[in-house]
């Protein structure tokens, strides 16, 4: 049976220090770093998920790179995003409020077909829980969002959330998320690939 691969752009949102980067690091590299400082150098992460029917979903993951602070998020970030993971910290009630703000922003700015998953992180800190499962789940249901809880530290629930999103993403349309340089995907529709070497260069090419 042939394996078909679909590529999707996934964006992360959420307040600082809720564990956005840790979540991705766990998903992509199965690592966790207790003292990870704010995101530096995580340029561009990709990870593939193979579903039961043998379809392969490749996530092109965009971290916020800290630009969500100080009102400096770029429109480019949401552009053509197929799915978003909005993260809050279950030990911080305020972080859920912030997540709600991001969700409203996504509903306003992003493509209407975007799939949004609300994710309560840090279940390893159960003793300090402030946000109940019921409360978050109720909000997610009202807004039509996917919802689950994770611990980037222990790994609990991390793969599940990405697999659930992968299942939900439409596979019948050709993926539009890939942005040029990926290499594996066709650039299509008269788009130009700057990374390709010029076949003819210099004045030889003059046709006049």
């Amino acid at each position: 049976m042939s394996r078909t691969q679909h590529q999707f752009k996934l964006v992360l949102l959420g307040e600082s220090a809720v564990g956005k980067s840790s979540l991705v690091l766990r998903f992509v590299k199965d690592q966790f770093d207790d003292y990870r400082e704010s995101t530096i150098g995580a340029a561009f992460l990709t990870q593939t998920v193979t579903l039961d029917d043998n379809t392969v979903v490749k996530f092109e993951i965009w971290d916020t790179a800290g630009q969500e602070r100080y009102k400096a998020r770029a429109p480019m970030y949401y552009r053509n995003a197929n799915c978003a993971v909005v993260v809050y910290d279950i030990t911080q009630t305020a972080s859920l409020e912030k997540a709600k703000t991001w969700i409203r922003e996504l509903q306003r700015q992003a493509d209407p077909s975007i799939i949004i998953a609300l994710c309560g992180n840090k279940t390893d800190l159960e003793a300090r829980r402030q946000v109940t499962k019921e409360e978050a789940q109720k909000y997610a249901e009202e807004e039509g969002l996917m919802w689950s809880e994770t611990s980037a530290k222990s790994g609990e629930g991390v793969a599940d959330i990405f697999i659930s999103i992968a299942r939900k993403l439409p596979k019948n349309v050709p993926p539009t998320a890939s942005r040029g340089a990926g290499g594996a995907t066709p650039t299509g529709r008269a788009r130009v690939d700057l990374n390709k070497q010029t076949p003819t260069a210099g004045p030889d090419a003059c046709n006049c």
């Binding site: 530096i40 990870q47 009102k71 650039t187 130009v192 700057l194 010029t198 003819t200 260069a201």
Partner: protein, 452 residues
């Protein structure tokens, strides 16, 4: 804001964003601020709400133009020349992963009252009405001479010294008619006026080579353009900077540039009650007295006006007549054709580039201002567009810094000029880099973290 930074960058125009991207990759601790709540400064692309807010604050955008989010209207009319330095920076920094490009469909030149396509293939050249049959032969000899030129092979020089002889001498050697000279000098070498004719030929040779190699790279025209507008360019470099630790603050009013009263050296900037310190500051002229909203700065003159550019952003409901319904074009009106000193440019893009709603076209007519009635000066350009649905005109002073900044650690960039591509922006980036570091900008391939 209490931290100390290596560099504070003011304004998120393309020049400043390329610089902060490169500085962050280099390991500098960068704080990048902008008074606007959007990226791009003078090189931004605006949605309809932002466009109307800027030009017609008391009028909402008409509903019939469609959804706000479908629009990204450039404030400056520029394209990327495909074999130029900006392309090299885009590829080297890998920001191409955030961007998609399309070609500009065609390049046209105005001659004797009508526009003709600048030939992009031999077939088009043979059919082109721009030259008669004998002139085509002479032009062919001229281009063969350029093609075959090798610096170290005097046999290819045909008695010409590109570094000593003027362009006039070169044209005369090949017996090219004034109309052909206009075409070569303005539509290909992209000179804005005729001053180049009496200067040495080398820069014009370099410009023609850049044009023809760019034309050959993708085919239809020498230009490419980022989907969703030019404003994507500063955003992509800002992201590069942020990924390497750069801190971004938008919607941040800059109230004061603080300098040491004794030495005049830069200390920091103040925004409201907050003050942030850094060793150096880089910023666009509007933060240093260029324009009205500059920060308080002890009355020091840091920028000079070097002329003005008029730009008319025109929203059309049809492609520009005579362009074969092209989805995007550049049209050059050489100065001689309309009795001016400076060329008039038209740059047009459309929904093909995701910058406006379907069946809408955006054309920007621009030129360097020569008289006290700039709007009249662009009329020959406006006349080529057909009915104009909406027009937003700006007359913008071009500022240049009065000093290199090495004395006081205040490094000011230049305004976006009237040229039709970004090569002078890259020159400014290289110039600022050299002023800041004292050495040339060398592009290193960055390490990219990609996990498969």
């Amino acid at each position: 804001m209490d931290e100390v930074y290596d560099v504070i960058v003011l304004g998120t125009g393309l020049t400043e964003c390329i610089l902060s991207g490169l500085l962050s990759v280099e390991g500098k601790k960068v704080l990048h601020m902008d008074r606007n709540d959007y990226y791009g400064g003078d090189s931004a692309s605006l949605n309809l709400t932002q466009l109307y807010r800027k030009f017609r604050p008391d009028q909402p955008p008409p509903a019939e133009l469609g959804r706000d989010r479908d629009y990204a209207i450039d404030l400056i009319p520029k394209f990327i020349i495909s074999s130029g330095e900006l392309t090299r920076i885009l590829v080297h920094t890998d920001v191409t992963r955030y961007l998609e490009f399309k070609q500009i469909a065609g390049s046209f030149v105005f001659r004797d009252g009508k526009i003709s396509k600048v030939p992009s293939t031999e077939m088009e050249a043979v059919r082109s009405p721009l030259m008669g049959i004998f002139e085509k032969r002479r032009a062919k000899k001229f281009f063969e001479f350029l093609q075959n030129w090798k610096d170290d092979d005097p046999a290819t020089h045909q008695g010409i010294d590109l570094d000593k002889d003027t362009m006039k001498a070169v044209y005369e050697k090949f017996g090219l008619e004034p109309g052909t000279q206009d075409f070569i000098g303005h539509a290909m070498a992209l000179h804005l006026d005729d001053d180049y004719i009496n200067k040495v030929a080398r820069p014009t040779y370099d410009r023609i080579v850049l044009y023809t190699s760019s034309m050959a790279r993708y085919g239809k025209s020498p230009y490419i353009y980022p989907l969703y507008g030019l404003g994507e360019l500063p955003q992509s470099f800002a992201r590069l900077s942020a990924i390497y630790g750069g801190t971004y603050m938008l919607d941040k009013k800059i109230d004061e540039i603080i300098t040491d009263p004794a030495t005049g050296k830069f200390l920091g900037v103040r925004s409201g009650k907050e003050t942030v310190k850094a060793k150096q500051v880089i910023g666009d002229p509007s933060y240093f007295g260029g324009g009205t909203s500059g920060a308080s700065d002890g009355g020091k003159v840091r920028v000079l006006e070097e002329g003005k550019v008029i730009r008319a952003i025109c929203i059309l409901k049809h492609p520009i007549p005579g362009t074969d319904n092209a989805d995007s074009v550049q049209i050059i009106i050489p100065q001689n054709q309309v009795n001016r000193r400076n060329d008039i440019y038209i740059a047009s893009v459309s929904s093909t580039h995701n910058v406006c709603a379907k069946d809408v076209y955006v054309a920007i007519v621009s030129t360097i201002v020569e008289t006290s009635r700039p709007e009249q000066e662009i009329e020959p350009g406006l006349a080529l567009l057909g009915p104009i649905y909406a027009k937003f005109v700006s007359v913008t002073p071009l500022y240049i810094p009065t000093s290199s900044g090495t004395e006081d650690n205040i490094f000011i960039t230049r305004s976006y000029d009237a040229t039709s591509h970004f090569e002078t922006v890259v020159e400014d980036v290289q110039d600022v880099w050299k002023r800041v570091f004292g050495s040339d900008l060398v592009l290193k391939k960055r390490e990219v973290e990609v996990t498969e």
